[in-house]
């Protein structure tokens, strides 16, 4: 595993959320890479130090008493009749994957979440240190890099896999605007998922470049904003973070951004191959 990939997986390694192969690959990289090992140790120390400071908040002593008293006078509700368990539908082509956002939820939880809506108002406490708004393109590129960082490396997180045509058909249906899935030189199409950019749906098309020795490299082509009116005016833009670089541009039918685990110049070359093709 190369440094950039290992670095990206450090949090998931620390959280115990990697599959055994990836876990082993990160662990053996850590043996050889003092930078990754030091970063991992630093994050682990930070988390270990924060947890007790945050967990020192405890319920006021009489809250328990009040709750118990209120439960005592709450009448037993009428028995609920549970719906039959949701049938995890057999896979049509293209295959919606069971993992990730579309997996079936446990029945009890589904019942509890039945009133859920996605845009939910919430009032925050006073913002601590209002941040100076960074350049919106920096923020967007960072957002795209984060999307790639979290989505691209684990194919169970994809919403759809299959041939180009299957992926394109699925995106057409889910997205509400037409996209193509252009060939990315040196990469194979891995699949796609729906993401959100500026609270509008966007397509993240994930490509995989198998490596002869070691895990694959990935790239994400993100297509969004078909009307060109959400977010900052888009000039070609490149940025680098955590071993990834991002190139964003205005394509003929929508905005596009390519995130790859490459230096900016190479990502730019790759982007130019699909420049007008999306």
């Amino acid at each position: 595993m190369n440094h950039a990939r290992a670095w990206m997986l450090l949090d998931r390694f620390l959280d115990g959320e990697l599959d055994p192969d990836a876990r082993w690959a990160v662990a053996s990289h850590l043996d050889d890479c003092p930078d990754c090992a030091a970063e991992l140790a630093s994050r682990a120390r930070l988390r270990a130090a924060l947890r007790p400071k945050l967990a020192s908040v405890t319920a006021p002593p009489d809250l328990r008493r009040r709750i118990v008293a209120e439960l005592a006078i709450t009448p037993d509700p009428p028995r609920l009749v549970a719906d039959p368990p949701a049938d995890p539908a057999p896979a049509p082509a293209p295959t919606p994957l069971a993992a990730g956002g579309r997996r079936p939820m446990r029945l009890a939880l589904a019942a509890a979440l039945v009133a859920a809506v996605f845009a939910l108002a919430f009032v925050t406490a006073g913002w601590f240190g209002q941040n100076a708004r960074p350049d919106p393109m920096v923020a967007m590129a960072s957002d795209l890099a984060a999307q790639h960082h979290t989505f691209a490396h684990d194919e169970t997180l994809l919403d759809v896999r299959g041939s180009d045509a299957q992926v394109a058909a699925w995106l057409d249906k889910e997205l509400g605007f037409q996209v193509r899935t252009p060939a990315l030189p040196g990469y194979e199409l891995a699949g796609a998922r729906l993401v959100t950019i500026g609270s509008a749906p966007a397509a993240q098309i994930v490509y995989e470049r198998p490596e002869t020795n070691g895990p694959s490299a990935y790239a994400s082509l993100v297509l969004f904003d078909p009307n060109g009116n959400a977010g900052p005016t888009l000039d070609t833009y490149a940025a680098q973070e955590d071993g990834m670089s991002v190139v964003a541009w205005q394509a003929p039918n929508c905005r596009a951004a390519l995130v790859a685990e490459l230096p900016p110049g190479e990502t730019m070359t790759l982007a130019k191959a699909v420049w007008n093709d999306v």
Binding site: S42, R43, L109, L113
Partner: protein
Amino acid sequence: MPESPAQDRRARFETLALPELDAVYRTAYYLAGSVAEAEDLTQETYLRAFKHFDSFRGDVIRPWLFAILRHAAVDRYRQRKREPLFFDDDPDGSDDHFGATEGGPEDDVLANLVDADVQQAVLGLPPAWRMVVVLADVEGFAYKEIASITGSPIGTVMSRLHRGRKQLAKSLADYARAAGYVAEHDR
């Protein structure tokens, strides 16, 4: 003396749910930002959970209880019609710094930060990030559990967690610097 079904139900609920009181209250506090709000929210969560207890299946009550907490929080603030701040929205202006390390302040700096400093730093995170950071790093939920609790795809959970932790580390480093815990030349 045999208990009635109602007493039995209540006793079973209390046995399962009351041990989570501190955790529920704590998360409510980090969602709401004040003691009074956190108390109301916790009480509302327990009453709702009790009312819907028949829909709970299984023996691990924590994710279910926390999902109810989240819904109680959402409903509560929606009713107030305060300035909407979207609980599920990821801020588009993020604090990410390209190429920055994410480890945050040094150990001796961290040791100097009192609990209240760290808690304030968490309350300063955007709500959507704050929720996943608290669920993961304080309450120890797995990504999948957090996805169930927040009703988000697991990828969204991971993205928010990554960004929330990063911003938290930066806030703490900034805070320590402002408080003089770290000398300028150490930066």
